[in-house]
């Protein structure tokens, strides 16, 4: 039972990270109907930028660990969001009216480009985060010893998801995003600047992905330039699982996938861990392509 709960909480932490990345996929898909293949790499940029800023600025020493990490997170999110906006402007905007395949190939190209740029800058080896950025304590919860970092990851991702949900549901800008997702032409007629909405989506999604990258760095302590691909694929699976284009769906899908993967790795086979997400992906597309919470039938499926 102890192992079960350890795996469950671990799954929730990993799932929270998947959910944060999945939000970026799902928002972009909602507005542009495009799979942003480069999103996983933006997540990696978050992890690497976090590492660089952490080592060079030493914020945690100057401002204390909690405030330092919060400032760091804000900087990482801002920078990765900026990269996202530049990416949209250079790789996706020129292709907005082109056939789907062109945009997909461009997105893949962007992914390959970003990943290899990172490799050329930092080298191909694993990069190690400094230890003890945050206190490495374990919290005793219902008789379980749970690493503090795990709880932080879950809480941070839940707070960010809730903030995004409230933003999209309650504010005027959020309404504009939802309107653009439903019908771009009609949204334009209603006086919504759709280009601005798309820019905003490419700011928020990558910012959340970047935050997820920083969390991974702090949680696992090491990052690699290729990790964005596997995290990206899994987060995309999470987005499909919850229903692509659906923001609460991405949250549910992410947490669920994290738990399925953690429990599957513990009880079925650790060697097949990475295949679990792909099996889930294929099954969900065969059985229920709209995902768990997706009400809109994706027209192309």
């Amino acid at each position: 039972m102890e192992q079960f709960f350890q795996q469950l909480t671990n799954g929730l932490a990993v799932g929270g990270i998947y959910a944060l990345i999945a939000l970026g996929y799902t928002m972009v898909y909602g507005v542009l109907k495009l799979i942003n293949f480069a999103h996983g790499d933006l997540f990696t940029y978050g992890a690497y930028l976090g590492l660089t800023l952490l080592v060079s600025l030493l914020l945690q020493d100057r401002l204390g660990s909690v405030v330092g990490v919060l400032v760091l997170a804000a900087m990482v999110m801002g920078l990765v969001g900026l990269i996202g906006v530049i990416l949209e402007r250079s790789a996706y905007r020129p292709l907005r009216t082109s056939p789907r395949l062109s945009a997909v190939v461009s997105a893949l190209g962007a992914s390959i480009f970003l990943q290899n740029a990172l490799m050329l800058i930092y080298g191909a080896r694993y990069q190690v985060y400094p230890e003890n950025v945050l206190p490495q304590a374990a919290v005793s919860l219902f008789g379980l010893n749970i690493p503090l970092m795990r709880i932080v990851v879950v809480l941070v991702s839940l707070i960010m998801m809730a903030a995004l949900y409230l933003f999209v549901q309650k504010t005027k800008t959020g309404t504009a995003i939802r309107a653009a997702a439903i019908d771009q032409g009609a949204a334009r007629l209603m006086g919504i600047d759709v280009d601005r909405v798309i820019r905003l989506v490419f700011l928020i999604g990558p910012a959340l992905g970047g935050a997820a990258g920083l969390l991974v760095g702090l949680y696992y302590g090491q990052v690699n330039f290729t990790m964005g691909w596997i995290y990206g694929m899994k987060a995309f699976t999470a987005a499909i699982l919850g229903g692509i284009g659906n923001i609460p769906g991405a949250m549910v899908g992410g947490l669920l996938l994290g738990v399925i993967e953690a429990l599957g790795a513990a009880y079925l086979s650790i060697a097949w861990k990475d295949a679990i997400a792909f099996v889930v992906l294929i099954l969900i597309l065969i059985i229920r392509p709209t995902g768990l919470l997706g009400e809109r039938v994706a027209e192309k499926v």
């Binding site: 790789a91 395949l101 050329l120 694929m233 060697a271 295949a275 597309l285 065969i286």
Partner: protein, 319 residues
Amino acid sequence: MAKRRLFWAYVLAAAVLAAAPLLLDAYWVDVLNSVGLYALLALSLNLILGDAGLFNMGHAAFYAVGAYTGAILNTQLGVPILWALPVAGLVAALFAALVARPVIHLRGDYLLIVTVGMGEIVRIALVNNVFGLTGGANGIFGIARPSLFGYRVRRPQEFFYLIWAFVALTVMLFNRLEQSRFGRALNYLREDEVAAEGSGINTVRYKLMAFALGAGWAGMAGSLYAAKMTIISPESFSFWESVVLFLIVILGGSGSIPGVIAGAALVVGLPELFRKFASARMLVFGLVMMIMMIVRPQGLFPLRRPRFREADLDREAVP
């Protein structure tokens, strides 16, 4: 006219290639061997991606199934690798038909994602030594060299002729296929699925056939690869392999056979000229992909569709 020019281009290319091993050293012949293998694989993917318009980004999985079938038949049962070739193709085709059946109705990027997932599952299965046959992460070694009419193919120069003869055969067959009822049906499917179905094309059946045929051909190329390397491991069939194949087809000009071969030469051969910048190879690829899609989305050598002209009408009218 264009057709005749293309024919002479093929003849010229064949002549140049036939002379190449006499002029180049073993290293460059080996590069050309790689180009040939990738051309084979890309031509097989072109059938699925270019002709039928199905976004398959897990082609390395079929390539892997073929390579492993050939290798297992050769090392476990002692079947000569060239005899194993058709079996490997058949197994890969059956495998493709089986796994593609439940997802063939998915369109566009959904199919792309699913095929990526399938490719990964196959790779993980190979690493995990599925059925105890694939040798885990180390793969299979000690695959016997092929022999042809009692002659053992060993040196790169000898492989060169074997591989490029296979490429020539493939070009000939796929050219015929493109102009057949089957090929036209696939093109119709790609352009407008609803209209194709409306004119009596069984879309699911044709899509599956394209998948199986492309996969089978990739399987045979895989067996050839196994024979050339004498050792295969899951690493050789990673996701990037599928991406490179996808890239060759898209860059060369999807649906166009000469385009795809030129694409293989560019993507596989060109980086060899710039070995100094080998680490930046993929960076440039990514950049080229983005720029190409904006500037020239149809690829470098796109398919020129035959156009109906008034002159054709006159020719028909004259008895």
